[in-house]
């Protein structure tokens, strides 16, 4: 297996498949347009009847060169690009990117408490919203169609909160280096509290519909098993790893943004099958709900930007009335702030796994290199191993349980 290949930028899929398939196997192309592959993913599936012999994922249909674009834009402009990577978790993407820059600047300890609390609140709400899409689409693929509508009903409430906070439902671009761009409106904590009060009822509904459901359990138990050693070796992180028994959660492993102050559990299941990953995410919904309630209690009035005029834009009234603030605004908005030369890697717990941002700065206003470690990119690698020997309908369940987002895979 480890012979050096002749140089060929592409080996056609027919060649790859021919090496693995027998004459009696059929090769089916699932995607890139397919209702169950969760985005523009193409799977070349080699079938022996209904059983999968081999799966070859073909990605890149959504590749837009985001990392290259980020090298030509200022640090603050790139926040809008990170929104579009894992488009179901934009708050998390923004946070990962912004915290990496704060690490490079050395201002991580200067972020005010209120900014950190609001960051945690919004990121955990985003995690709930992302899991709502996962749950709805996963159940839809398996056949429980009404779950989709129930889940999106809760997601609407969260997206309304995001729209009240920053004006955007999906492309939020809310966090800035040094804190938040502006404070959240006064009525937003009330909206969040209303959501938190109603959410347990929704969770009960989901449990009633799916968790004890015999059909759901038959479709998901014992399907797509991945062992703990294989999961770590293949780089799987997030709920997919915690479903196999390893309790690796970046919020616990390397706390950031004040997560060490919150009381929450990291759910872990032992079986490693689709049902275990489902249970991990269902319990994560409860834990995120707990964290959001704690942030509501911790919310105190205060500044939302670090006291770093060279990095953070001044408030509007201050800028209109003070000369030095006006000058800072002019320079920051026109030229952007510079980051001292260096490199840093900062990982956060995205809704899919370890979302890592690696930035190399060269002292100018644009980053020299930005690389994003998208958890879905790495998790999808494990799909062929998990799907081998399963039926093709189970492949759909496994893809759903991995919770992949093509924006993060392809960038």
């Amino acid at each position: 297996m480890s012979k050096v290949l002749e140089y060929s930028p592409t080996k056609t899929f027919e060649q790859q498949v021919r090496e693995t398939a027998l004459d009696s196997n059929i090769t089916v192309s699932m995607g890139p347009q397919h209702p169950s592959t969760h985005g523009v993913l193409r799977l070349e599936v080699v079938l022996d009847g209904e059983t999968v012999v081999n799966t070859i994922p073909d990605i890149g249909y959504l590749h837009t060169g985001m990392e290259k674009i980020m090298e030509t834009k200022k640090y603050q402009q790139n926040i809008t690009i990170t929104d579009r990577m894992d488009y179901l978790n934009p708050m998390g993407n923004n946070l990962g990117y912004v915290m990496c820059i704060e690490k490079l600047l050395g201002i991580v300890d200067d972020i005010p408490e209120r900014a950190k609390t609001i960051r945690v609140m919004l990121v955990e709400l985003q995690r709930i919203a992302s899991h709502m899409v996962w749950l709805g689409t996963h159940a839809l693929d398996i056949g429980a169609m009404s779950m989709f509508f129930y889940c999106f009903r809760e997601r609407e409430k969260i997206l309304n909160i995001f729209e009240a906070v920053c004006g955007g439902r999906m492309t939020v671009s809310f966090f800035r280096v040094g804190g938040l761009p502006y404070d959240i409106p006064d009525f937003v904590p009330g909206l969040v509290k209303e959501f938190c009060d109603n959410f347990p009822n929704a969770l009960k509904e989901y449990d009633t519909l799916l968790t004890g459901n015999k059909i759901f359990q038959n479709r998901t138990r014992g399907v797509g098993i991945i062992t703990a050693e294989d999961a770590i070796a293949w780089g799987v992180t997030g709920p997919s790893l915690r479903g196999s028994g390893i309790d690796y959660d970046v919020r616990r492993y390397d706390p950031y943004c004040g997560y060490e102050n919150y009381d929450f559990d990291v759910p872990v299941e032992k079986d490693g099958d689709v049902f275990a990953r489902y249970m991990v995410r269902m319990r994560e919904l409860r834990e995120s709900h707990k964290i959001v309630k704690q942030t509501l209690k911790r919310l105190e009035p205060g500044p939302v930007k670090a006291d770093t005029p060279k990095v953070c834009l001044p408030d509007r009234e201050v800028m209109l009335n003070q000369m030095d603030a006006l000058i800072h605004h002019f320079l920051l908005a026109g030229l952007g702030f510079t980051v001292p030369p260096g490199e840093a890697y900062h990982a956060i717990e995205g809704s899919k796994g370890e979302y890592g941002v690696y930035i190399i700065s060269d002292g100018s206003e644009n980053p020299y290199r930005v690389h994003v470690r998208g958890p879905s990119f790495v998790n999808l690698q494990a799909l062929p191993m998990m799907a081998k020997g399963e039926m093709i309908a189970d492949t759909v369940a496994i893809i759903g349980s991995l919770d992949i987002v093509l924006g993060e895979i392809d960038r």
Binding site: M1, S2, V4, L5, Y7, S8, P9, T10, K11, Q16, I59, G60, H63, G65, E67, K68, I69, K103, L104, G106, I107, V108, D109, D110, I232, A233, W234, G235, V236, T237, I246, Y248, Y253, D254, P255, Y256, P341, G342, E343, A344, Y345, A347, E354, G356, Y358, I360, D362, G363, S364, E365, N366, Y368, R369, H371, R373, F377, V378, Q381, D410, R411
Partner: protein
């Protein structure tokens, strides 16, 4: 606007305000010492910045060093978080760097390894044998940067279209393509 220097000073990071370090720095220091003992000439350089340590390893030793770091019971760097490439600039020599981010789940430590690669001799041994997750990461680095990985079982393009020639993330590839 010309790029400033990529090199950064060897700052002692205790003075910098960052999040609390994962473990006492000594575990990473121990790892570096052990690597120095086992592979005498492997380490080219060590840099520290904002609480992170980067070790520059010679190209021929990278697979062995990685296997040692993964298997040694005192370090157990069992998760390869990320593998990527950097183009240091058209005039720089060596032009490319391959960056490995290692994570030790039991020991709560992270470490960064780098291998310098020149443009004429643009290949690095693969670490797929150490961490299978490197498969797609190396394919992406090959696709976008053009660094080849010797011993990789399936080195072909992964993100760019099949008919695209060239390596888009290199500094001499125009942003909007040809």
């Amino acid at each position: 606007m010309s790029h400033g220097s990529l090199e950064h000073s060897d700052s002692n990071v205790e003075a910098q305000a960052t999040d609390a370090p994962l473990v006492p720095k000594s575990l990473v220091e121990q790892a570096i010492e052990q690597v120095k003992e086992k592979f005498e000439t492997a380490i080219e350089d060590i840099k520290k910045h904002v609480g992170e340590t980067t070790v520059y390893i010679k190209r021929e030793n990278i697979a062995d060093v990685c296997r040692f770091l993964r298997d040694d019971p005192s370090f157990q760097f069992n998760l390869l978080s990320d593998l990527t490439g950097v183009d240091r600039g058209i005039e720089e020599d060596p032009r490319f760097e391959v960056v490995y981010h290692l994570t030790s789940l039991p020991k709560r430590t992270r470490l960064r390894l780098k291998v310098r690669v020149s443009e004429e001799d643009c290949h690095v041994p693969t670490v797929v044998g150490v961490w299978p997750t490197a498969n797609w990461h190396e394919r992406e680095t090959f696709d976008l940067m053009g660094i080849r990985f010797d011993g990789h079982p399936d080195l072909r393009k992964i993100l760019t279209p099949d008919d695209l020639e060239g390596h888009p993330l290199r500094k001499d590839f125009p942003l909007r393509g040809y």
